[in-house]
């Protein structure tokens, strides 16, 4: 994001970060449909995915309105290529085993929960209204994912080993959740976005608490070369979008 972009461009870009993170995380969870370890977990993951899609729809519609180029939620979800997506790269990481999905969700749920908790006071009243709704849902999601992380981490030797391996594998993607860039700072300065330092501190506190309860240790800092928020993604997003966008790209404007 360069400083030369207009206020509307920056605003739209910021809303897309939130929207795309929900959309991509929801699509990943939806991949569990029919493959969950038990029927209850299958239903739970699908329900969380549904909430995330609902948030994404509201946010994409808002982003399209701010952009002012007549792109609706569908045009934004199905018509953009990977480099135009602004989700954090953590959201696009493959499901792996159940432990990896849960570790990814714990990190994302905590980030969304703290971000939306702050956004309820956003100067953008439409964004604040969406945040008020999302924060209740995220609280519910957090209860689920953090509950499972404790059961896995503090469970059997095998479940602990898997949760620990997932944490090691995914930790490098959390830099992007913690480190604010110029756009985050700009949005905070104009009252639209939350104060990054506050979200970061609360996120760390929340994570530290659940990792301790799960008898897992916070991994050492790892170099992070991806910037999903600025459109620099891992290969995983391309594959995800191929599935997500296949039908509307093959049959533009299709409906049934």
């Amino acid at each position: 994001m360069n400083g030369a972009c207009t206020a509307a461009e920056a605003h739209c870009e910021y809303v897309l970060r939130l929207a795309d993170t929900s959309l991509v995380a929801g699509q990943r969870l939806a991949e569990w449909l029919g493959h969950g370890p038990t029927l209850e977990e299958d239903l739970a993951l699908a329900n969380i995915a549904l909430d995330l899609f609902g948030q994404a729809r509201l946010l994409l519609t808002l982003a399209g309105r701010i952009e002012g180029c007549a792109r609706d939620e569908d045009a934004l979800a199905f018509g953009r290529d990977a480099a135009e997506f602004r989700n954090v790269a953590l959201a696009e990481q493959p499901n792996g085993d159940f432990a990896q999905t849960i570790v990814r969700q714990v990190m994302l749920d905590a980030w969304q929960l703290e971000t939306y908790s702050s956004l309820v006071a956003s100067a953008d009243t439409e964004l604040a209204a969406i945040a008020q709704k999302a924060v209740k849902e995220c609280r519910y999601h957090w209860r689920y994912s953090s509950g499972w992380l404790v059961r896995l981490g503090d469970g059997t030797g095998e479940s602990h080993r898997r949760a620990s391996a997932a944490l090691q594998a995914l930790w490098r993607f959390t830099d992007e959740l913690r480190v604010a860039d110029e756009l985050d700072a700009r949005m905070a300065a104009c009252g639209i976005g939350p104060e990054p330092a506050v979200v970061n501190a609360r996120w760390q506190e929340r994570l530290a608490g659940v990792l301790e309860a799960a008898r897992l240790t916070v991994p050492a800092h790892q170099h992070y070369p991806w910037h999903g928020k600025r459109g620099v993604h891992t290969e995983a997003l391309t594959h995800l979008l191929a599935t997500l966008q296949y039908l509307p790209r093959l049959y533009p404007g299709v409906s049934w």
């Binding site: 549904l50 948030q55 209204a129």
Partner: protein, 161 residues
Amino acid sequence: MSEPARPAVRLRERAVWRTLATVMDPEIPAVSVVDLGIVRHVRAGPDARVHVGITPTYSGCPATEVIVSAIRTALDGAGHGEVVLETVLSPPWSSRWLSAAGRRRLEAFGIAVERVPGLVPRCPRCASRDVERVSEFGSTPCKAHYRCRTCLEPFDTFKCI
């Protein structure tokens, strides 16, 4: 608006509310959209149009669009004139908005209601409080899944959110 027009406006709003009370939730046909608390306002303005505010229960509830179209069909069918449907997001829907009648109808339909977070619901079949939660999620976004330890039947519970 001039004073004498008020009673007519109120009557019109009340008639719209009565029609809305006949529109059932597509996934839980025991309760109406009014019972669920998703109709936030009915305002008949001086411009001859009636504005109806609707809020979704959950952001991703797939029934929302079906509900909106059912409301549209019912209001048009009842001849309420030009009706404008508006989406209201704030304040967000809460299960506290479920009406007392709605709660009774849900229980009679076999769906328990979580009144306070943490307080276990009563089994809708045998009224036992000896129940266990199977999952925080259920067959629709607004429900969790429980099992009764007394009559051994599984049942849905309206989540407290």
